[in-house]
């Protein structure tokens, strides 16, 4: 167990040794800050009209939910760039031998790498969450719903990262890993579009679509089906990654 921690801490720290993590955090915060302010502006103009309607959407619905929705799409673009180097670059730089000949299992290597990067992802989510919480200074938030949004985004990003990690395990070049991850995630994201066709809905596509599960949790409806989907997704890709690393030893 301690080995997972060691690798995770090293991975997390390494991200901040290059300008990569800093740049990403800054750009992400800037774009989302801009979107957040636009959303606040929208709420201000709508406020007078909303006051007259019974059961109208509140501050949380108008500002927080779209903010996290936008964050999800931006992270869909960002995650492949972060995950691509995880295993792939170690293999290319031949540093993987260091881990493979140390007394640690492949499970420790994969989980350590995964958790290290996930640390940065969760830090991003924490920074994003600070924005809606700033509204508490002058308004009221549906805290439960904000947390549902955080949970949804955290699960989504964990799933993104696990898929990216697997792609990084199989690809020979980081850029290919990034493209493959991006392709896979985008496909799973838009799969839902075909499910929307009224007369020929596909139950399977509907279930596979990440967007649908993400939005379900985002709406505050935390059901075991959606949580289970993400957990299965994450566990599935992590196990595949471990198997893939085992395979490295067997054949090359």
């Amino acid at each position: 167990m301690s080995m997972i921690g060691t690798i995770a801490v090293r991975e997390f720290k390494s991200l901040f040794l290059s300008p990569l993590a800093w740049t990403l955090l800054a750009i992400l915060q800037f774009i989302l800050g801009f979107l957040f302010l636009t959303q606040v502006e929208t709420f201000n103009t709508l406020q007078s009209k909303l006051a007259g309607i019974e059961g109208a959407p509140g501050l949380t619905d108008i500002i927080v939910t779209p903010l996290f929705g936008n964050a999800a799409i931006i992270l869909l673009l960002v995650t492949p760039m972060l995950t691509m180097r995880l295993i792939c670059e170690e293999r290319r730089n031949k540093t993987l031998a260091l881990l493979l000949s140390a007394p640690i299992g492949n499970i420790d290597i994969i989980l350590g790498k995964y958790l290290g990067l996930l640390g940065l992802m969760l830090l991003m989510i924490a920074l994003i969450t600070l924005m809606p919480f700033s509204l508490l200074a002058g308004g009221e938030l549906d805290i439960g719903k904000v947390f549902a949004n955080m949970l949804a985004l955290a699960l989504l990003v964990s799933a993104f990262t696990s898929a990216g990690l697997y792609m990084s395990c199989i690809a020979g070049h980081p850029v290919i890993a990034a493209m493959a991850t991006f392709g896979l995630l985008l496909l799973l994201w838009v799969l839902d579009w075909s499910a929307n066709m009224e007369d020929q809905r596909s139950q399977l596509f509907e279930y596979l679509s990440m967007l649908r599960h993400f939005q379900a949790i985002q709406s505050g409806l935390i059901s075991s089906v959606d949580i289970g989907y993400f957990l299965l997704f994450i566990a599935g890709f992590l196990i595949l990654s471990i198997r893939r690393l085992d395979n490295d030893r067997l054949q090359k």
Binding site: S2, M3, L17, K94, A97, G105, Q251
Partner: protein
């Protein structure tokens, strides 16, 4: 003596290509085993298998009594490995990198500090401890790789071409370090530089096309070096085919029309017979000189013999 590495019938296939074929050997404490072979002979593959980076297609490896396949974590505790490319995280400082390596080997805090200091001292890295690895020269990077392998004081140290990229002075330092390490540990080093084996190893093992063609102590090898080659100069061109047929002659190497080298077996020495034949044929024997065999000759004859058969 305790057996540190026991490798039995190691075989490794890459697809249909057989890179290592039925290699067995042992390494004991206090031995420095030199692994020799031309490029592509299977040295690195064997080493990768010994370090658990590559699973053998067949065969068994025991490190300090622990099977590498059944108890990989325990077995790897006793291993220090420097691959052919030193595995360095270039965005760390030397100190940070060595500390991380120590943590990966589950060293306790006081052990770690002591181990890092000792490794830095032994490899001459104390002055550069706070510099980024990326900014250091190839020689320093190689030394960091060695430091990383000996950091946790492992019983078995495996070094894949440890002196590549070092200047002559550093090579001398590293060789003496290897000899020093060999007293308390078991060391395997691979190289294609023959003098390196003569200088720093106690045992030598030659691998060619995936097969082990020689496993010998350096002393035993030196015995083999006394005899074996005759340099012969004649006044008139000699009929080499005739000389080749003399019993005991293994091969004949023509240097010029009037000069050739004869490789012969040690036990059945044909020197007298050759001299008689040349004189009887009237070719005019001018020079007959037994050559001391260098390790190079042994290496070449062993690898070529195998090629011919």
């Amino acid at each position: 003596m305790s057996v540190l590495i026991q490798a039995e019938h190691l075989t490794r296939y890459y697809g249909k290509h057989c890179a290592v074929n039925d290699v067995s050997f042992t390494l004991e404490k206090g031995q420095v085993l030199g692994f020799l072979g031309p490029n592509g002979a299977g040295k690195t593959t064997t080493m990768q298998m010994l370090c658990g980076n590559l699973a053998p297609s067949a065969g068994q490896i025991k490190i300090n009594g622990f099977d590498l396949l059944d108890q990989p974590k325990t077995a790897k505790r006793y291993l220090g490995y420097l691959p052919d490319t030193p595995p360095l995280y270039k965005d760390l400082t030397v100190q940070e990198f060595l500390e991380y390596c120590g943590l990966l080997h589950d060293m306790s805090k006081p052990d770690l500090r002591q181990g890092v200091n000792r490794a830095k001292e032994r490899c001459g890295l104390t002055d550069v401890a706070d510099r980024l690895i990326a900014n250091l020269s190839k020689g320093f990077q190689q030394r960091i790789g060695i430091a990383q392998a000996i950091l946790h004081n492992p019983e078995v140290i495996i070094l894949d071409e440890p002196t590549v990229g070092l200047d002559p002075l550093q090579i001398r330092e590293i060789r003496s370090l290897i000899r020093e390490l060999g007293q308390e540990h078991g060391v395997i080093l691979s190289t294609h530089i023959l003098t390196e084996v003569q200088e720093s190893c106690s045992h030598v093992q030659i691998i060619h096309q995936g097969r082990l063609v020689l496993h010998e102590t350096i002393a035993g090898l030196n015995l083999q070096m006394d005899t074996g080659i005759l340099l012969i100069t004649t006044r008139l061109p000699a009929d080499t085919a005739l000389l080749n047929n003399i019993p005991g002659v293994t091969c004949l190497e023509q240097l010029s029309p009037l000069q050739f080298k004869i490789h012969h077996s040690v036990t059945d020495n044909p020197t007298e017979h050759i001299a008689q034949s040349i004189i009887a044929a009237g070719w005019g024997l001018e020079e007959l000189l037994p050559l001391k065999r260098s390790m190079e000759d042994i290496f070449i004859s062993l690898t070529q013999e195998h090629h011919d058969s």
